[in-house]
């Protein structure tokens, strides 16, 4: 039996998000025979919908001026009105998907499989999927009973995007069905988006970044990293725990919830390498990881690894660079 799969499309300013083609790839991997429908929710979504008809046989549109900003409390109610129970719904695992999806699985009475990074086939109504735990330190295989429907969130970047084909799809307006009992989700009201604070250094423009994570240990140790950055002619950036500890300004955070950087050289010092952090590094820089834990996930993605305590290694490196100059 082929599954009915829906993929929720993220879009902004009339442009489809990169994850849409990844969701299409995930759907094809899950069940090549499935009929896949894209769902677009928003305001003035016609350009988005028509651009998707090249990749999807059917595009469902839920369009209303009140949907200009994606409020997941509203959208969950709309989706529950139109998606038949028993369907499989694929959603990108980002700040919106995490907000929308667990509750949607309850509304649709299906299984919930969060943050999948791979699919390995279906055995007897159960999807075998790959997830990660402990910030990516270990992977797991999970079985998810999808026979009664499921909501599955997919980690962005984990499926290779499917090139737009010539699906010749059609757009179906589902706005009436979705809004059949008025606009849902009124108990949470969107107010505004506050833009990221501007810091003293714009790390998105840095060619050399010396980035620190939890492994720095103490706030006082940041000084040795400042010295290294100075010697290399680069800037200091960091991963999330440093921001949480308020040791550096938020504007220096690299990651999906921070800045997206594209340096030529990226030094990851005491950074374990969570996907949220790696998601903020683009342009395939030359990446050096220094970490005393040889099993840190960062060593899987870095070009060069140094298994040492950064507190010892960094001052030595700085001294040698300064001597050389």
């Amino acid at each position: 039996m082929a599954f009915q799969i829906f993929t929720y499309i993220l879009h902004k300013d009339g442009v489809v998000d990169d994850t849409a083609a990844e969701m299409a790839a995930a759907a094809a991997k899950l069940d090549p025979a499935a009929s896949v429908t894209a769902i677009v929710v928003g305001s003035k979504t016609d350009p988005v919908c028509s651009s998707l008809t090249a990749s999807f046989k059917e595009v469902w549109k839920i369009d209303n001026d009140a949907l200009a900003y994606p409020n997941s409390e509203v959208i969950r109610g709309l989706l529950a009105n139109v998606i038949p129970k028993g369907s499989i719904v694929l959603i990108a695992h980002d700040h919106f998907g995490m907000d929308l999806s667990p509750g949607l699985s309850v509304k649709l009475d299906g299984a919930y499989l969060p943050d999948a990074v791979g699919f390995e086939g279906i055995e007897g109504g159960k999807l075998k999927a790959v997830r990660q735990e402990y910030s990516g330190q270990v992977s797991t295989h999970v079985l998810c009973d999808i026979s009664g429907g499921a909501v599955i969130t997919i980690r962005p970047g984990s499926f290779t995007a499917l090139a737009a084909g010539s699906a010749g799809g059609s757009v179906v307006d589902k706005t009436g069905d979705a809004l059949t009992s008025g606009m849902p989700g009124g108990k949470r009201r969107f107010v505004e988006v506050i833009e990221a604070e501007v810091g003293d250094v714009d790390i998105t423009k840095s060619e050399v970044l010396v980035s620190i994570g939890r492994g720095i240990g103490e706030q006082e140790n940041i000084e040795i990293v400042n010295e290294l950055a100075k010697a290399m002619g680069g800037d200091v950036s960091c991963s999330r725990p440093i921001i949480d500890a308020k040791w550096l300004e938020k504007s220096r955070q690299v990651g999906t919830s921070g800045k997206t950087v594209k340096p030529k050289v990226y030094m990851a010092l005491g950074i374990s390498g969570s996907f949220q952090h790696l998601g903020g590094i683009k342009g395939s820089p030359f990446m050096v990881a220094v970490n005393k834990n040889p099993k840190a996930p960062i060593f899987q993605v870095a070009d060069i690894g140094v298994v040492e305590d950064l507190i010892e290694f960094v001052p030595m490196l700085t001294e040698k660079i300064n001597e050389m100059k």
Partner: protein
């Protein structure tokens, strides 16, 4: 404001290197240091700060075995007023939805204005809060990194979204919020604080105390189950520099020079 915070006892990843055991059935649990889930600790701190500002109470609740009691006690030492441990062999093997059903049943026994969970825990799923809200038919917001209590009907919240931006919403009470790290600076808990609450009684509730439908919880009801653990292979893997620490530094400098890393 009566606030409930759901907390979980997890291996402390700041203290441990997590690896897979020989047979791949579990992580290596020998010598692991356990602690309260980091996100939950921020949630408890936030709850305490709100209570101290506007009055009310903070209750911490955990589903787990008897060892989860130490985590509840730790959070009570921080300042939570009450702890509840939910423990029953029948709950073993529950998936996220099973856990949400258990918590929902416990929550319905009392009245809370705010229910917090951490934004995620050790398994990175981030699912229980959103499910709980849907089951209780309450509004929900995830990744909350700012809370301002405006009145007793609604509050103002900030959510961490992409690229350092923050989404501001207004949300009616009661509601369920998942709390992101960095929302506050959790207070330090000393050994004296723990001693103070060492003899406070923490009620333990099982399936029959809660009157829970056992068909909805435990491994039999779970639609999602873990098969095995393995070490991830994300990329081709780094070239690991060998030699003494000095030799490693020298090799690295040569590499950095060739890649434009030293200006």
């Amino acid at each position: 404001m009566d606030i409930l915070v759901c907390v979980k006892r997890v291996p402390d990843t700041a203290e441990n290197e997590i690896s897979v055991n020989g047979s791949g059935t579990d992580i290596e649990r020998d010598d692991l240091v356990y602690s309260v889930n980091e996100w939950d600790n921020y949630a408890v701190e936030e709850a305490i700060q709100i209570r101290d500002k506007v009055g009310g109470s903070v209750t911490v609740i955990s589903v787990g075995d008897s060892e989860s009691e130490e985590v509840l006690r730790r959070e009570m030492a921080m300042g939570a007023d009450k702890g509840i441990l939910i423990s029953d062999g029948a709950f073993e093997g529950s998936d996220g939805k099973g856990l949400a059903v258990i918590l929902k049943t416990a929550i319905e026994k009392d009245k809370y204005d705010l229910i917090f969970t951490g934004a995620q825990a050790d398994d990175g799923a981030g699912q229980v809060g959103g499910m709980l809200a849907a089951m209780l038919d309450l509004p929900y917001a995830s990744l909350v990194n700012f809370i301002e209590v405006s009145d007793d009907k609604k509050i103002k919240i900030g959510r961490e979204i992409a690229g350092g931006q923050q989404e501001i919403d207004e949300i009616d009470l009661p509601c369920v919020l998942s709390i992101q790290t960095g929302i506050n600076e959790p207070r330090y808990v000393g050994i004296r604080g723990i001693r103070k609450v060492a003899s406070v009684e923490i009620p333990v509730l099982g399936a029959s105390d809660l009157g829970i439908d056992q068909g909805l919880v435990g491994s039999a009801a779970a639609k999602v189950s873990r098969v095995d653990y393995f070490m991830p292979a994300l990329g081709k893997g780094a070239e690991i520099l060998e030699g003494s620490i000095e030799e490693k530094a020298d090799k690295l400098i040569e590499l950095l020079k060739s890649k434009g890393g030293i200006k």
